[in-house]
């Protein structure tokens, strides 16, 4: 009996000691809330965000600027602004996060603008690609891309290639219309003609009819934008099966040959031309380091725009932690972030002080086979591009 009581006392003391030691350790940790889809049809974005940020911290030796980093993940499912707002409010008020990251969908990002503005929480957008988001709060920083950013140089290139007549075929939703306007504006400015603008309903499964219309339009090339996954596969398949490549109608795209879908496209993808800011096949030491760290964290993770957006986003958060010494100071953090420039896996990048959007090289790529795998081979760099969408205003 005596010994049992003694053991209990020791245990109680030990526990108390552990608790007493805990607060300083917790105070040192920097809390980062990652908001994205972790379930449902878009869950792969969440998985890639998680792999990207955790790989970054691991590659820096587990600590950023001497501070441990604690991630709090929150699942938004799909485009769901109401729920996202609630989740982020909880993260700010209850979990007291110092930074926020993630956001796949534009409406979700827009919904949290008032919250981060009021609480002065620096928020790094890893994906959501509508130009106007960063205008809604000065605490937004974006490490992804915008459709204008990648489409404008593509339209200029098309005009230089002596393509006079282009048909536009985009999926009929926000980003698709953004892409349509961006291409039309720039291509017309360069003296080209857009012979037809086709908007494909978002629920389309059979792309045959649209591809026939493209063929009949008499254009030399088709500029297209589709959401990833099934629509992407369906369109590329229809493009090939209906003999558009053979008929000499060139494919001009952006994210269609994204690494996440690329292998599924198979030989149908060979030769497709796209303009984009990141290719998993980008030839640089930093990119190789990124891929190695990513695979170490999660062997199934794909090096694509989502995981590189998270990786670079984490770099920005890293630098903000450094500038503030781990204290919560939104203004000071943002001041540091506005002037950042670094070597990213995608090439040299910097944050534009005015728009807080990433300035990066956009590359012209062609799909090629490298061994057993298909890759986006970068054939030409268009040089650093700002967000032409915000510039256009």
């Amino acid at each position: 009996m005596q010994s049992v009581r003694r053991a209990l006392t020791v245990a109680a003391l030990a526990t108390a000691g552990a608790f007493a030691a805990a607060p300083p350790a917790l105070a040192q940790a920097v809390k980062v809330g990652i908001v994205g889809p972790f379930s449902g049809p878009f869950a792969h974005y969440g998985t890639l965000f998680k792999a990207g940020v955790e790989a970054y911290v691991a590659s820096e030796g587990g600590k950023l600027a001497g501070k441990t980093v604690e991630f709090v993940y929150r699942d938004t499912g799909g485009p769901n602004p109401g729920q996202t707002k609630t989740l982020v409010q909880e993260l700010i008020v209850k979990d007291k996060v110092d930074y926020l990251g993630g956001f796949v969908f534009t409406p979700n990002a827009l919904a949290v603008a008032p919250l981060i503005q009021q609480s002065q929480t620096p928020t790094v957008i890893f994906n959501a690609a509508t130009s106007s988001i960063t205008e809604k709060s000065e605490y937004f920083i974006r490490t992804s891309y915008t459709l204008w950013q990648v489409t404008v140089p593509l339209a200029q290139w098309a005009a230089q290639q002596n393509l006079k007549k282009v048909v536009i075929a985009v999926t009929d939703y926000g980003p698709g219309l953004d892409a349509e306007t961006a291409f039309k504006t720039e291509f017309t400015k360069q003296g080209g003609t857009v012979v037809e603008s086709i908007r494909m309903p978002i629920a389309t499964t059979d792309f045959g009819p649209f591809v026939q219309r493209i063929k009949a339009s008499g254009a030399q090339a088709v500029y297209t934008f589709l959401p990833g996954g099934p629509p992407n596969l369906g369109f590329v398949k229809a493009y090939n099966e209906n003999g558009l490549a053979k008929a000499g109608i060139q494919f001009l795209g952006t994210a269609e040959t994204d690494e996440f879908d690329l292998q599924k496209l198979g030989d149908a993808a060979l030769g497709l031309t796209t303009a984009f800011h990141y290719s998993g096949a980008h030839d640089s030491a930093v990119n190789r380091k990124f891929i190695e760290a990513l695979k170490k964290r999660d062997p199934n993770a794909v090096a694509n725009y989502a995981s590189v957006g998270a990786w670079d986003g984490m770099h920005v958060i890293h630098k903000m932690i450094e500038a503030t010494g781990g204290q919560k100071d939104g203004l000071k953090a943002l001041a540091a972030a506005r002037t950042l420039q670094w070597e990213s896996p995608r090439g040299a990048v910097r944050i534009d002080p005015k728009t807080r959007h990433i300035v990066q090289n956009v590359y012209l790529r062609k799909v090629e086979r490298a061994g057993a795998l298909l890759v986006n081979k970068e054939v030409q760099s268009f040089g650093p591009q700002t967000d032409h969408g915000l510039d256009a205003k």
């Binding site: 792969h44 978002i202 059979d206 099966e241």
Partner: protein, 285 residues
């Protein structure tokens, strides 16, 4: 004229895909009066089977397709014998809730086991190319779908109308008590029909995969299309489903050629109009 022939050809191909996916449901929902919202899950199961067999096990498509269809049918028979048969006498709402729940379980399980990516069925060289029709090209796979659709329609209509099993099935559905008193093996008929419905769903999942790619959300994503075809075609009428699928396929394709800005509006307007005109089925006066 060119646009018109294009609409006819693409519409026929699309309509046949719709029919091949819907015909299984027209048996379980239409003939057996079992509100089977897990139809999409069975189609997906068949598709995933074929994808795994052709891609991972390197089977020939011609072998993998019947194998996947049979496997899905057997799985459905077991499921029917153990679980689903208890639902026949329940209310429709309970059938709806159970089968939609089953779909969610299948979605989560496929997501966990195979991941969220699209699964592709490796097609043999004969089917992966395209056929030159002179004035345009058509994917060769669509010809298989059109052929298979016609075969399935003829086969199923014959089986229901002329075979002993078909007579048993109709008797069992119309008045199971009397049918069983007459010595018809009710349980065997129900189990067999349900398995056949699921097997046809699997066939549809495999043949339709080119237009409706296989991914975990398949089970619910295309369910609306399938339900529309069965509803417009009329409960239990296989020729009605065929007519409905072809008509709706043509309308959808025509709207893509002529008025794509309107989305799927015409498809659903046509559905409403057809249901108002012939509420009991396209071919039933």
């Amino acid at each position: 004229v060119n646009t018109l022939t294009n609409i006819l050809i693409d519409g026929l191909a699309y309509g046949m895909v719709l029919f091949v996916i819907a015909v299984g449901l027209s048996i379980t929902l239409g003939l057996m009066r079992f509100v089977n919202l897990s139809h999409g899950a069975f189609a997906m199961l068949g598709g995933y089977c074929a994808a795994l067999l052709t891609r991972e096990a390197q089977w020939s498509f011609w072998l993998a397709m019947p194998m996947a269809v049979v496997a899905t049918g057997l799985f459905a028979a077991v499921l029917e014998a153990l679980v689903l048969r208890h639902l026949y006498r329940r209310k429709e709402l309970e059938q709806v809730l159970f089968t939609i729940g089953l779909s969610f379980v299948v979605i989560a399980a496929t997501n966990a086991l195979a991941g969220p990516q699209v699964q592709l069925i490796t097609l043999p060289p004969l089917l992966s190319g395209s056929v030159d029709l002179g004035f345009r090209t058509l994917p060769a796979q669509r010809l298989l779908v059109i052929g298979a659709g016609l075969l399935v329609a003829a086969g199923a209509a014959w089986a229901v109308a002329c075979t002993r099993f078909g007579i048993w099935l109709r008797a069992a559905v119309d008045h199971s008590g009397t049918a069983s008193a007459l010595g018809i093996p009710i349980r065997l008929v129900q189990c067999g029909s349900f398995a056949a419905g699921a097997a046809l769903a699997a066939l549809g999942g495999i043949l339709g995969a080119e237009l409706m790619p296989l991914e975990p959300y398949y089970a619910l994503k295309y369910l609306v299309l399938v339900l529309v075809v069965v509803a417009v075609g009329g409960m239990g009428s296989i020729t009605g489903s065929l007519a409905a699928a072809l008509l709706l396929g043509l309308i959808e394709t025509a709207s893509k050629y002529l008025a794509s800005d309107w989305g799927s509006l015409f498809f659903f307007v046509a559905m409403a109009a057809l249901l108002a005109w012939r509420p009991r089925g396209l071919l039933v006066r």
